[in-house]
């Protein structure tokens, strides 16, 4: 599903160049649940940005679902993100003035789907997350776990091939963390490729493989033998 070959990425910091990714090779198979781990500064966020088409790599080859990713227009990247990828963020990033249903429906808006159709679909996905009765509530009326489940519903509604979760449990307590991880595992079980970026070891262990990043390179890959 995802294939990285000698990926390099650096950022300009003032006059200096900060070399963050120094040749990463990785192959993620379809239906895998992968955790990317590493301490802060190891390059795991940058890697997620490159994988999620939020940023473009400088060197190397990136194949997403067999398609080579090269420098592309913003509009094209937006379309690809909308069709193939789903995002779950640490701070949920729900839009505060939209209710749960509208938040979930938003990706379909950018796909040009009619209002009634996308709201109907949004309700279905909220129902899957057990949040149907919360559909008309605003984000500030929801608990952290509920917000993250709304965010997951939003990531799923476009039926993407890959779900990227950036510290999905970072803002949650241990009980809700468990809930959210259950949801992510279920999604994975339904056939979606899931990539989780985390620095928590017990979260990382839930993946099929743990990719440990250090100083911009993969230090090791740990097979957790779940499958």
């Amino acid at each position: 599903m995802i294939k990285l070959e000698k990926i390099h990425k650096s950022y300009a910091v003032g006059k200096n160049k900060l070399h963050v990714l120094k040749g990463v090779d990785l192959h993620i198979k379809e239906g895998e649940m992968i955790s990317i781990m590493g301490s802060s500064g190891s390059g795991k966020s940058t890697m997620l940005n490159v994988l999620g088409l939020l940023d473009i790599h400088d060197e190397g080859n990136y194949y997403l679902d067999g398609m080579p990713i090269t420098k592309m227009s913003e509009a094209k990247a937006a379309e690809l993100r909308n069709h193939t990828l789903g995002f779950v963020f640490q701070s949920f990033n729900l839009i505060s003035f939209k209710n749960a249903m509208e938040n979930v429906a938003l990706p379909l808006y950018y796909r040009g789907i009619s209002r009634s159709k996308r709201n109907k679909l949004a309700l279905e996905y909220l129902d899957k997350m057990g949040l149907k009765e919360w559909a008309l509530h605003m984000p500030n009326e929801l608990s952290g776990g509920q917000k993250q489940r709304v965010a997951i519903a939003r990531a799923l509604i476009t039926d993407p091939k890959v779900i990227f979760a950036d510290e999905p449990t970072g803002a949650l307590d241990s009980k809700t963390t468990e809930e959210v991880m259950e949801v992510l595992k279920r999604i994975n079980a339904e056939g979606k490729t899931v990539v989780i970026v985390t620095h928590e070891h017990d979260i990382g262990e839930m993946g099929d493989r743990m990719i440990i990043l250090k100083d911009g390179v993969i230090e090791k890959i740990v097979d957790t033998n779940h499958k």
């Binding site: 509009a75 937006a78 379309e79 993100r81 069709h83 963020f89 003035f97 938003l106």
Partner: protein
């Protein structure tokens, strides 16, 4: 995009979230447009008022009257009085080709006593040539004006102003009736309204100049000679002024460079100057109005920048979910246009309503009649209102464009960073 209910919903929800800020921004634009409308209306009112008080005189006319020399010439001392007369009248008519109509006006020596039956009044009775009617923009109300037959036949007829009619006839129809001027009966043939000479006096009566000469034995001297010039440029009218000066200098034997010997009143110059002055005032007002508007627009620009800054994260999320840069630009741009258009329209409406109320209830007349004389029908025409509306939408777009561009350049990576 424009008619997409979702886009509007997005815009309304942000506006609703920041009511006060939006209201203040809108207020500055509304005030800008309001001021522009009021200023333009006021300048129009001033123009109407002054124009109407000027408009009695033919704008293409010139009048010449005698004055006093200030330079000695060919053995004559300075300080000599110059009087224009019938000879000058005929000579100017002959020598200046551009003249369309020429007429003289003389006076009745001594006190005038004017009466109808038992009613007396003090009016200005002026013996004039029949062509004098070309020089004043009169408004004929009843009967007819004096004609060349009256002049040639020395008919004792009079044309009276409505004020005279009012005080002498008290509602009676004056046409065909006889009034007495210094014990001579004159038949009233016409009544007119406004003229160039309607000041604060009781009214004017015109009688044929030929009659006046015989009755009051004036020796052909004239108070003024006036003529109209057809369609003429300011430059040509200046040349005619010079020609009149030199012709009269020759016939009255004064220094041709002595500008005080005669008095030339060039209405062409006045009216052209008037038009120029008002052009300048109006463009000045546009300038002030537009700068006020620019201030308002800068306010919108500022607010939109803040809006974009505040919504950085939201815009980042939208982008991650598949929003194209274009849709982001559209979102910000439409919000900006919406704020300027709505508040501008409010300002426009308030301004036009105020002018309308002032005109409808004649408020200026009631508050200060002196001002009202120079201030008639302040209003903005539809063209100005439409221009202002178009300007608003464009400025709204300009104010929103840079912030929108900035918003579309937001990288989701930067926006979503969790610090």
């Amino acid at each position: 995009m424009l008619f997409d209910i979702d886009v509007w919903q997005e815009i309304f929800s942000t506006i609703r979230k920041n009511k006060l800020r939006t209201a203040l921004t809108g207020f500055s634009v509304a005030v800008g447009i309001f001021m522009l409308v009021i200023l333009l209306g006021a300048s129009r009112g001033l123009k109407n008022g002054v124009e109407s008080s000027f408009s009695n005189e033919s704008s293409n006319s010139m009048t010449v009257s005698g004055w006093r020399t200030t330079k000695p010439y060919k053995g004559q001392n300075s300080g000599r009085d110059i009087e224009v007369d019938n000879q000058d009248f005929r000579m100017l008519g002959k020598r200046i080709n551009q003249i369309a109509a020429i007429a003289g006006r003389t006076y009745i020596p001594g006190d005038e006593s004017i009466s109808y039956k038992t009613q007396f009044g003090s009016f200005r009775a002026q013996p004039v040539h029949a062509a004098y009617k070309e020089l004043i923009k009169y408004n004929l109300l009843k009967g007819r004006m004096m004609n060349s037959e009256d002049e040639k036949e020395r008919r004792k007829i009079a044309v009276i102003q409505d004020k005279v009619e009012k005080s002498l006839f008290k509602g009676e129809n004056p046409i065909g009736k006889f009034i007495e001027i210094n014990n001579t009966k004159f038949k009233v043939v016409g009544v007119f309204g406004k003229t160039s000479q309607n000041g604060n006096d009781n009214g004017t009566i015109y009688i044929p100049i030929t009659v006046g000469e015989i009755l009051y034995s004036t020796r052909g001297e004239l108070v003024e000679i006036g003529f109209t010039l057809g369609n003429i440029t300011l430059k040509d009218s200046k040349a005619i002024e010079d020609k009149v000066q030199s012709l009269l200098a020759k016939s009255h034997n004064f220094d041709p460079t002595d500008k005080s010997a005669i008095w030339i009143d060039n209405n062409i110059e006045e009216s052209k100057e008037f038009v120029q002055t008002f052009g300048a005032i109006e463009s000045g007002i546009w300038l002030i109005g537009i700068f006020t508007l620019i201030l308002g627009v800068i306010g919108v620009f500022n607010i939109m920048l803040i809006v974009v800054k505040e919504r950085t994260k939201e815009i980042g999320v939208r982008k991650a979910l598949g929003a194209t840069p274009r849709s982001i630009v559209g979102l910000i741009l439409l919000e900006s246009i919406f704020i300027t258009a709505v508040s501008g329209y409010v300002g426009l409406f308030a301004g036009v309503s105020l002018l309308e109320i002032v005109t409808r209830f004649d408020l200026i007349q009631k508050m200060s009649p002196d001002v009202a004389m120079f201030f008639m029908n302040p209003q903005v025409d539809m063209g100005v209102a439409i221009t202002a509306t178009i300007v608003l939408v464009i400025t709204g777009a300009i104010a929103g464009f840079i912030p929108a561009r900035r918003a579309s350049k937001i990288k989701p990576v930067d926006a979503l960073r969790d610090e």
